[in-house]
Structure formats: C-alpha cells, structure tokens
Amino acid sequence: MNQQEIEVILARQLSEYLALPIFLVDQAGNLLFYNEPAESLLGRRFAETGPMPVDDWAVIFQPTDEDDRPLAREQLPLVIALQTGRPAHGGFWIRGLDGVMRRIYVMAFPLIGQADRRLGALAIFWEATD
C-alpha cells in the first residue's frame, strides 16, 4: 500500500487540530482531506464525500466569480499553488453541497518537502463577511 509522505500526514494532523477551514490535496490535485471547520462551509462531512480527484472537486462546489461566471480550475488558488509552487490567494463564490451559496476567500500554499519534493498543497479558507 502507498503511504502518504510524512509532511502530508503532519499537515492533515495539523488541520484536524485547527479551527480554520482547511482543504488538503496531493500533487496531482486529488483531495486528500478537509477538516471539520471546512465541512460547515462545503456543506458536507468529509466522511461522506471522501477523497476525490481534482476534476471532481474543482466543479462540484461550482466556483464562480463576482459576475457569476464559472471559474476554470486553473483559476483556483489551490490549483495555482500546485502548478506554480508558490502561494496564491483569491476570493470567489462556491455552492456548498448543502445548496448554500457562500463567498469565500482562499489562501493556498504548496507543500514543498525536503529536497524540494513537491507533495501537494493546502488551502485555508473562510467565509467573507464584507
């Protein structure tokens, strides 16, 4: 069985302890985990969604811009962080799996391990109140 890299294991553990919504993906963009605070914004428990490929999660939450235009996955901060290896941020709308539209801000950063190993990315996000 393949085992996650230790940095990814520790990232998931950290996210489980934090009160900030966090979304964790591997280097291929596959969703590995999101924590309890994220569940309330995404509208479904992770235990119910489970891991999913980037092609699924990039559309299932229906990300749209301020003019209600769908965002391509390459426009999502998490995907930008994965592709560029640099932090990225942005604000946009999502529709949670509970059907509720929410405007969120996202701060994403790549997980780069020892010896420059690209391991995935982690996004911290929160609901806009402005």
């Binding site: 890299e5 294991i9 520790l10 391990g113 020892q114």
Partner: protein, 278 residues
C-alpha cells in the same frame, strides 16, 4: 544478512549494574550482508565496539544515520575506521532545508564539543544526504523515508534477495493518525515496514509514560508491537529503551506489553549483543 545490536538505549547512555542485560549504549546496529557488505545503522555509543569488531583490515563501511540527535551520533568520533588511513567510510544521513549533512555533523564534530574536525580524519570519508529515493550499497537495496520524529528523521529498509530489515529507532507512528493502529496509508513508517522480515522499532516508553509525552517522537512498547502487527512483519525487536528503565523494569514492561500484543506476533526484546539472521 546478519544483524547485531551494539546499542539499544535511547536518549542517553545508561551504563550501570541495572542495565547490563538490555544494555546501556545508545543506538547502533551492524548489518553484514552475505556478500561482505557492512552497514552500520546509527552512530550512538554502541558504535565504538562495532568499530573495534570490524578489525584492522581497511575496507569500506557505510554508516546510515537516521537523524542527528546526540544519542545517534555521539559515538561517531570514536568509530575506529574513521581514525585509520585506508578505510573508506560513507556516512548517509538527512540534511536540513538550510544546512547540508557535513555542516550539521560539524556542529558536533568540531571544537569545543569535539577536539577533531571532520576534515582531519585520516580515513577516506564520503557524505551522502538522504532521503534521495532508493539506492544501493553493495548487495543491499536501501530505501529511506522521512518519518514522524522531531527534526528531519528518516527510517531505513535494507533488502537483499535473502530478506529485508527495517530500522525505525525513533518513531511515533501513533501521531498523525486518528485511530492507531489503523489507516496504514496515514501511518508514518508503514511503507518501510510493510511485510518486512525483521523490524527494529522504537519502544521507549510504557503506555503511562507515553500519555504524558505525546509528540516527543517516540513510542510505547505496546505501540511498537501494534505497529508491527499492522505492518505484518515477521519479527519485531522493540528497543531504544528509555535510560530510566532498569533491566527488571524492562522485563516487567515487556511482559505486560506482550500479554496484550496481537497474536500471532514474534517479538524479541532488544538486548545489546543480540544477533539475528535474516
């Protein structure tokens, strides 16, 4: 391969009348391949005797360091082959994001903590950084992976056509997983240990001690056995004993852990001088 335990103690040497059976030297294990390759796992104080046992005939020896905590490098300056011309010594170990292995080792192997500089050693010294994927040392196929322990720490798996050994002297696999032992995919060290013939694993604490030291990077004896069962190993050797544990106390702790261990699991408590054939 032949595996000899030269140091079974964790954190600090613990010589004395209360530790003669399990041993007082810190981590060091010698692995001899049937083709003549000699690998030494960690350079705790046990490496002094390992070096003497290698004899005077110069040849190559490879030292695989899991990390650079003092109990794993303290014996390095007293490893005889390093101090003799003609020996070819390869040291493998983790660097950091800012300092290479030579710079990090030199923090100890330089005045005022040690009177001799690395570059002054008369042997032919080669330094290699891990993890770097799998690599070969003589007849050994070596895998190194970062594992759960403070500061960059790797575990090693040595494989030959005869069998495989995994060495995880400082390891806290219960950290980072929701339910232990479960979720192999999310368990530190699992891939290194899966199905291995012989597992040498951290067993520093009693369960009671572990509960007060979560995050220190070590395991209880029971956790070592549970990890071994999860990974489906052939035999587990719990070692890296806490320096405060006497022989009698270790006898008691091992018996308690074994009584609760998942069956069937072959267990041999790690004692200095013990030899295993893989």
């Amino acid at each position: 391969m032949k595996v000899r335990l030269w140091g079974t103690r964790g954190s600090l040497p613990a010589p004395g009348p209360d530790t003669v059976r399990y041993g007082g030297n810190t981590s060091c294990v010698q692995v001899n391949g049937s083709g003549g390759t000699v690998v030494v796992l960690d350079a705790g104080t046990g490496i002094r005797r390992a070096g003497l046992a290698l004899g005077d005939q110069p040849r190559r020896v490879d030292i695989l360091l899991t990390h650079l905590h003092m109990d794993h490098i303290q014996g390095l300056g007293f490893f005889a082959p390093l101090r003799q011309p003609g020996w070819e010594v390869h040291i493998w170990g983790p660097g950091s994001t800012t300092l290479d292995l030579r710079a990090r080792l030199s923090r100890y192997l330089s005045p005022p903590t040690f009177p001799v500089l690395l570059r002054e050693l008369p042997s032919e010294l080669h330094l290699h950084e891990v993890p770097r994927g799998d690599f070969e040392i003589g007849e050994f196929h070596v895998s190194s992976v970062l594992i759960c322990h403070p500061n960059p720490t790797v575990g090693y798996r040595l494989s030959t056509s005869e069998g495989a050994l995994t060495y995880l002297p400082d390891h806290e696999p219960a950290l980072g997983v929701r339910r232990f032992p479960a979720e192999p995919e999310w368990t530190s060290g699992y891939a290194l240990a899966e199905g291995v013939d012989l597992l040498l694993h951290d067993a520093q604490y009693s369960n009671q001690e572990y509960s007060a030291r979560v995050g220190f990077g070590h395991s209880s004896i029971s956790q070592a056995l549970l990890f071994a069962a999860l990974a489906g190993v052939g035999r587990v050797v719990p070692f890296h004993h806490d320096p405060s544990h006497s022989d009698d106390e270790l006898d008691r702790l091992m018996a308690e852990a074994l009584a609760e261990a998942p069956a069937p699991l072959a267990v041999t408590p790690g004692r200095e001088g013990e030899v295993f054939e893989v």
